[in-house]
């Protein structure tokens, strides 16, 4: 980091494993509801979204946010989801992201790992 750099936003990388709520791995609708609730609660503006259902299973859902993006890729065959949340906002600390991570773990009934939270710089 150089002295003249400033934080553009925070990016959280979540590799979520050992999921007990397996239904959610195959439900674009339910994950959409969860993402909409999160965006509403934390003040992320959803400008557009696209999804793709893979055969025989798994899906991708991408949210284009005014603040950047939110993505999920589900791998039911691996009992695994990859979620990325990248938002360009001013944050005092990681607490919003940690709360959102907790919500993911609660919804998926999954092992609590340690999400990677990265400050990104202009």
């Amino acid at each position: 980091m150089f002295a003249e750099e400033s934080i553009s936003g925070k990016h959280m990388i979540c590799d979520i494993k050992n999921i007990k709520n397996e239904r959610l791995l195959n439900s674009i609708n339910d994950v959409t509801v969860m993402f909409d609730i999160i965006c509403n609660k934390y003040g992320f503006s959803v400008l557009n979204k696209i999804e793709h259902q893979f055969e025989p299973q798994g899906f991708t859902l991408l949210y284009l946010l005014s603040e950047s993006h939110l993505s999920i890729h589900t791998f039911p065959e691996k009992n695994y989801v990859a979620i990325d949340l990248y938002t360009c906002k001013k944050y005092e600390d990681n607490s919003d992201y940690e709360e959102i991570y907790d919500l993911f773990i609660e919804m998926f009934k999954a092992d609590r790992g340690i999400p990677m939270i990265i400050d990104r710089y202009f």
Copy 2:
């Protein structure tokens, strides 16, 4: 990392700065051409894409890939772009990603930084 984990894919985070090709910061079309060339060359299957032009400037472009996703957020006012490439493929090493990063730097005529390349695990 646990012994039973295996790599799901690689994620490259690029914060590209000091861009001399400023035109590209405001050209969704040109970046789309660049992304299409990269996806074709490196065997990423584009399933869908969405874009948003911000006012007065800057845009977001999201590619939904069969292998995961590719995103760009441009900030002309900061002379900065944030690019993420996350693909679930088997890689021998980081050389494909390093080549792609070199292409970004060449296209944007920007400072060569060090991209963050993260192995993601099931």
